[in-house]
């Protein structure tokens, strides 16, 4: 009998193991493994200038003065340089509304020049990109230049600010089409497809790079075969190229000019770090990987004088001050200081340097002021949060919008956060588009609507 016991135990154990393996678990178990992502969406149609149309409207240019000619204004610094005096208080129902306009979903901000407002828009119903010219007086459309392009909604479609000069209007589309028009008539000068012509890759959430127009040239960062290029604004021909030897990808940051020891240069924050090229010929002067954000670089570097560059980002990147110094025949870059994201950062909006202090919206949504040594001077506190909204400074006043269209005006001073007025001016969500201020008129937007407000001081 005893010799059967081991065999019996083996049989019982096998039966128990088999039943345990075959039985359904009391709690359903599902493997959390990568799922299939097979794209079965239809192929996209061809886009571009070949099928473009110039459509006249009923608007007329305004005689109102003032200009905001590109991303972050005429000096690309987030500051208004008008001499128009701005009101330090608003009526109970907010600043006077001059006009309001529906737009396609997006975050594209306006540029203003010669009584015209320019907006890069997208018409979802007809699937066309539209570069719109509006009257600064009433928002009525003067003309629109439209070309077909299939752009699927992905947190909106449009997200760049055009650059406008006397003879050129340059717009950067969500899928990296760069279009140059006559700013008065809307006639096409040239168009580049950076994906097709320069090997660019459209960034996640579409391109947010705003073109730089200066000295008859357009400076772009294709980040394909070339890191940066300069093209002739008259004909779109390439003037110089900076080879993309590090194979950086395009981010949502924009090219910004910087004076470096008396030399004109251009800065760009790509996927792998920051690059600086000579403005005259595109020679790469230096690169650094001291500042790179793996998910998305959105805020543009801020030149802070004396070879300093202030950088801030989201995704736990925090903020840092980089110092560029001569190093033999070239340049060296070191980190002067760095701040944790709880102290300072910039998820989406580029901070503003004003009177030796930096103003920006931190990842927790609070407005904050830093000095150039990285010391936090003040924050607006948790009761005044601005989410991912835009800001600008003019006449010593700081205007900041929150996600839901509440516009705040405070003093741009380093000693304390001093709120002067608040008004609900937009009624949708995602009021993130960069604002423009020209001739005492402020243009802001939410996801689907633009508003033009009169913020000038009353005579």
């Amino acid at each position: 009998m005893e010799r059967w016991i081991p065999g019996l135990l083996v049989v019982l154990a096998t039966a128990a193991l088999t039943s345990w393996l075959l039985a359904n678990p009391s709690v359903p178990v599902e493997p959390r493994v990568p799922a299939s992502t097979v794209d079965e969406s239809p192929a996209e149609t061809k886009a571009g200038a070949a099928s473009s149309r110039l459509i006249p409207g009923s608007g007329t240019p305004s005689s109102h003065p003032g200009a905001w000619t590109c991303f972050r204004g005429e000096e690309r610094d987030g500051l208004g340089h008008d001499t128009v005096r701005l009101s330090r208080q608003w009526p109970a129902d907010g600043p006077r509304e001059r006009w309001r306009l529906d737009a396609g979903e997006g975050y594209a901000g306006a540029a203003v020049r010669a009584g015209r407002v320019y907006l890069h828009d997208y018409d979802q119903a007809t699937q066309v990109e539209a570069i719109r010219c509006l009257s600064f007086d009433d928002g009525r459309e003067i003309w629109r230049f439209a070309y077909p392009n299939v752009i699927k909604r992905n947190h909106g479609m449009s997200r760049t600010v055009p650059a406008v000069g006397e003879k050129h209007l340059v717009a950067f589309g969500p899928k990296c089409h760069v279009t140059c028009l006559d700013p008065a008539t809307g006639a096409l000068r040239w168009q580049l497809d950076l994906v097709r012509d320069f090997g660019s890759k459209v960034p996640p959430w579409y391109a947010g790079q705003c073109p730089l127009l200066e000295d008859g040239r357009v400076i772009l960062a294709p980040c394909g075969d070339d890191l940066l290029i300069a093209v002739n604004a008259d004909d779109g021909k390439v003037l110089w190229r900076t080879p993309n030897r590090l194979a950086w990808k395009m981010t949502h940051a924009s090219v910004v000019p910087m004076a470096l020891a008396g030399r004109r240069t251009y800065l760009y924050a790509g996927s792998g770090g920051i690059a600086c090229v000579d403005a005259a010929g595109g020679t790469l002067l230096w690169t650094t990987d001291l500042w790179k954000i793996s998910i998305a670089t959105i805020a543009t570097p801020v030149p802070a004088g004396d070879g300093r560059i202030f950088v801030a980002g989201g995704y736990n990147a925090g903020a840092a001050m980089l110092q560029v110094e001569p190093d033999g025949a070239g340049y060296g870059v070191r980190e002067a200081w760095r701040l944790a994201p709880e102290v300072f950062g910039a998820t989406q909006q580029t901070p503003i340097l004003f009177e030796n202090h930096l103003y920006g919206i931190r990842p927790d949504g609070e407005l904050a002021c830093l000095d150039l040594d990285g010391k936090l001077r003040w924050t607006s506190g948790p009761q005044h949060r601005f989410g991912l909204g835009p800001l600008l400074i003019a006449g010593g006043l700081l205007y900041a919008m929150n996600d839901d269209g509440l516009l705040s005006m405070c003093e741009a001073v380093p000693d304390a956060f001093r709120l002067l007025a608040q008004a609900k001016v937009l009624y949708g969500h995602d009021a993130w588009g960069p604002m423009a201020l020209a001739g005492g008129r402020l243009i802001a937007r939410d996801l689907t609507q633009l508003v033009c407000l009169d913020v000038a001081e009353k005579p």
């Binding site: 799922a35 794209d39 699927k152 947190h155 989201g314 989406q348 996600d403 609900k424 009624y427 995602d430």
Partner: protein
């Protein structure tokens, strides 16, 4: 002084002074109708008064501190993540779903921010993915809300789910909330959802 009765027209059916049988019936029916109407109004008023106000989170004040998961008298919490789909970008790289710096943009457990795997990510078409909350698994920790708000537009946000909330007189989460985001709202409008356009 003349008596008013002397001028009243006499009903042909009355056969004398006082209300007729038909008048009596008419007045009785009218009285019954008034009584029914008053009763219905009283019933509705009592229901409204009984419902009163209940607790809800203002998503624009919420700071995603995580206390909703730990301070509710229920376990798991009656606070759940809800999703305003009209605001969502359906992103491939969703900062509510993925850990910062994920190994890959896929549903591998190591890439997911949600500690309970309560968010279901489904491929729609390039480049879109839908993110759906499994409420039974959600513990209201707000990790996804924080991720969504930090870079996106906060289409994912917390709400007290009234199919399970006990509506305590003194909500223990409201006491602990550092942002004052818990509000009393009318019971017939129990949610403060994001995504709707407000009126000028």
């Amino acid at each position: 002084m003349a008596d008013a009765h002397q001028h009243a027209p006499e009903s042909p059916a009355s056969g004398g002074a006082g209300p007729s049988r038909r008048d009596f019936l008419r007045q009785s029916l009218r009285g019954a109708a008034f009584l029914a109407l008053g009763g219905a109004a009283g019933f509705l008023a009592s229901r409204t008064a009984r419902a009163g106000n209940i607790w809800q989170i203002d998503p624009y004040l919420c700071v995603q501190c995580g206390k909703c998961a730990t301070h509710c008298v229920l376990n798991p919490s009656a606070v759940k993540c809800v999703h305003a789909y009209e605001m969502c970008g359906y992103c491939e790289l969703c900062t509510a779903f993925f850990e910062p710096d994920p190994n890959g943009l896929n549903t591998g457990a190591e890439n997911q921010l949600c500690p309970t795997g309560a968010i279901v990510r489904t491929f729609v078409e390039d480049p879109y993915f839908e993110y759906r909350i499994t409420e039974d698994l959600c513990i209201g920790c707000a990790k996804c809300v924080k991720g969504c708000t930090a870079f996106g537009n906060g289409s994912m946000h917390l709400q007290v789910r009234h199919d399970r909330c006990l509506n305590c007189n003194e909500c223990s989460i409201a006491v602990a909330c550092p942002a004052g985001a818990f509000k009393r709202v009318p019971a017939n409008r129990p949610y403060l959802m994001k995504g709707k356009r407000s009126e000028p």
